[in-house]
Amino acid sequence: MRRKNTISELVAVAETRGCSLWQVILEKEERLQGRDRKDIWRTMEKYWAVMKESLDAGLQPGNRSLSGLVGEEGFLLTRYLEKAKPLSGSGSVLAAARAMGVAVVNASQGRIVAAPTAGSCGILPAVLATVAERTGASEEAVIGALFTAAGVGMVIDEQASTAGAKGGCQAECGSASCMAAVAAAEMAGGTPRQAVNAGALALKNFLGLVCDPVAGLVEVPCVKRNAIGAAVALLAADMALAGIESKIPLDEVIQAMKEVGDALPDSLKETSLAGLAATPTAREIEKRIGAGDRGNNHPGLLKV
């Protein structure tokens, strides 16, 4: 059996060769897939193009999910940013707005890129777009950052999980925030060591986060967890770039995430049996948007 990959191994290779994490990960992809580097790069470019489309679509006014539970959060936050001086910094507010926008595109049956999942799809594109803007990074640097993020996600998926049904929301939004933090720190000029420190700082903050979607839909609280996941990634990257280290290395944080995920009861792993999904308000919502009520959609076509 193939030995599992670790973060420390990725960092060691990058440090020995004096290169970026994304280069190590891209070369590994070439070896694993036996695919031409340019071809792999082009695929990632296509995915970034879809991410950008979803970022744009997400901030339009009038967005609404299929259930109507979520919609204009991203738009509201960007409008607020135009008028107010945000308490938490314009970068994190913008990233949070973008993350919610993409998550709403997903919830309204629009096209997104799973990163690592559909439920957590807003975090990575929102963070990368925001960092690119603030650092003036090239399109190429963003594609590189996507490889870095993917490489970190591969390790998490191998060592723990990236599925809410297996590990709770820590495995989805937690993983996405961790991946985004590493990619952001590297894009902003951090060393591989600083970058993975950013990932550890971000992920530590999600340990134990449960997956408890209201009415079983990828909307509440998922959309807002995407927002806060993006903001955490940016702050973690800033902290790491300032020279702050995570006392617990990322590999061990990932291990801890697996143990916490295994210890979580099934009721808190995407089954909507506990947590926010079992609150009185959630039960009300469930009743209101229940499957039997189709509102005025397609009268005459659907007979339920």
Binding site: Y47, L66, G110, A114, A291, L302
Partner: protein
């Protein structure tokens, strides 16, 4: 789990909100369309389990109908599939079942084609966009439709299996997996063949012309 590619983490490009309730549902629709094999006039869909409970918020009905219309799981048109179906004169009826006897994400699809041909299919979405078809017409089976798949309906007579395999072999098509199942009548039978490459129209016609073969479906 062993991850072999960065694109298992970044990707796939998909239409939301959930791979099991959208991408998987589209694929079930795709298979039903292939099984009917002609233009659809009417679709009666029954949803079970989580499909029944959350189809509205997940757009599972739209995804299934998109699949019936031949769309793929990343088609932005999925959202609008019900209107598109209506415009094409495809009548859709959605029913809900409260039974817990099947996998949580299960749909029964009954299709009527332009010629009046009717088919029944039961499929489950089993996670990450993967599906399992467990019934086609009167046959219980277990079909993932991961690989190119050929379904041959035939009478229960000696030699049919050999002749079908022979045609495939003569045309350089390797059979990866094969199962033969009896239906509920006395002499109806079905052969499910997963092949390494897609079977051409000519081969399909040759198999359909074999004695005792009653129908051929390519997925």
């Amino acid at each position: 789990m062993s991850v072999r590619s960065v694109f298992e983490i970044i990707g796939p490009v998909m239409v939301g909100p959930s791979s099991s309730h959208t991408a998987g549902a589209v694929r079930i629709g795709n298979v039903a369309r292939a099984v009917l094999g002609e233009e659809i006039r009417r679709a009666e869909i029954t949803l079970y389990g989580s499909f029944a409970k959350t189809y509205k918020g997940h757009g599972t009905d739209r995804a299934l109908v998109a699949g019936l219309l031949g769309m793929s799981g990343d088609d932005p048109g999925i959202k609008d599939s019900l209107n598109r179906a209506a415009a094409l004169g495809l009548e859709v009826q959605i029913g809900l079942a409260r039974g817990e006897e099947f996998h949580p994400n299960t749909a029964d699809i009954e299709l009527t084609g332009v010629s009046g041909k009717r088919i029944f299919l039961r499929g489950s979405s089993v996670g990450g966009g993967n599906i399992l078809i467990t019934r086609i017409n009167q046959y219980d089976l277990s079909l993932t439709a991961h690989e190119p798949t050929l379904i041959v309906e035939h009478l229960d007579r000696p030699g049919v299996v050999g002749r079908v395999a022979g045609i495939l072999g003569d045309n350089g098509i390797n059979i990866a997996e094969m199962r033969v199942t009896r239906g509920n009548l006395t002499e109806d039978k079905i052969m499910v063949l997963e092949t390494d490459n897609q079977v051409s129209d000519e081969i399909l016609v040759a198999i359909a012309r074999l004695p005792n073969v009653t129908a051929v479906i390519r997925i």
